[in-house]
């Protein structure tokens, strides 16, 4: 392996580690804070078999987010692919995506005046990795949608 190649690899790895950790910490801080603020409005996944609540208004709300991996996570995950076992580095990625998408939906619904959100559904889709070859989740899109009721 050329020295230059190793240097670039190490540089990207270190850059990915520090920036990825920084973004993740910041994101989690914001997620926890917003979740605490919006905790009083319930979100439920039921709504079909239950009798409909008394309400005046109902509206669809969608929240979505695309979260990207960093180089460090990607390399860790590819190595993990060879070893096997739980891909711990990606867990936080998807966790952040789901919570962020739910929060965005909820905040929009609350701004509208919702007192609860029913029949919430979540969807996750992988968006291709680098240079188009779908070798790993370059990033994940999570969408959350449900019906706000007031």
């Amino acid at each position: 392996m050329d020295g230059l190649e190793i240097l670039i690899f190490l540089f990207l790895l270190i850059l990915g580690y520090f920036s990825g950790t920084y973004f993740e910490k910041r994101h989690y801080k914001s997620i926890r804070e917003r979740e605490r603020k919006t905790l009083h409005v319930p979100m439920v996944t039921f709504g079909a078999k239950q009798s409909l609540p008394e309400a005046q208004d109902a509206q669809l709300f969608v929240g979505s987010v695309v979260i990207s991996v960093d180089y460090f996570k990607m390399i860790s995950a590819t190595l993990r692919n060879l070893v096997g076992g739980r891909v711990m580095v990606y867990e936080s990625l998807l966790d952040r995506g789901r919570r962020e998408a739910l929060l965005r939906m909820k905040e929009e619904a609350m701004a509208w005046g919702a007192n609860q959100i029913m029949n919430v559904r979540l969807e996750t889709a992988a968006i291709g990795g680098r240079s188009g070859n779908n070798s790993g989740p370059g990033s994940v899109e999570v969408i959350a949608y449900g019906t706000g009721i007031r």
Partner: protein, 104 residues
């Protein structure tokens, strides 16, 4: 037009249904945004450009579904679901579907 993910509309009753209403869009990748995204892939974090791109596309799918429902004579779409599928390399289909109904 009332849109819900529930089986009905709270406070109203369904009087008639018109079957399925659906809308979809297929989005190809955006080269400019892709370059930015591949850079962001190194450092991590949210890809805001992609979030917006997909949001717009999904909005378009919803609008098409609403348009279908209107043509059918409905004033609400209930039990809406979204789905994403990649149809070709670099292209994604976003679709929304639900049941068109008339509520009173």
């Amino acid at each position: 037009m009332i849109l819900t993910t529930l089986e009905g509309v709270p406070g109203k009753t369904i009087v008639e249904h018109y079957g399925l209403a659906q809308g979809s869009t297929i989005r190809a990748k955006h080269i400019g945004k892709d370059i930015m995204a591949s850079l962001k892939n190194l450092v991590g974090g949210e890809l805001k450009a992609y979030t917006e791109l997909l949001q717009e596309s999904r909005q378009e799918a919803v609008e098409r579904m609403v348009q279908q429902a209107e043509e059918l004579g409905a004033n609400a779409v209930v039990n809406i679901r979204f789905a994403t599928s990649s149809v070709a390399q670099g292209a994604a289909e976003l679709f929304a579907y639900g049941t068109a109904v008339k509520v009173e």
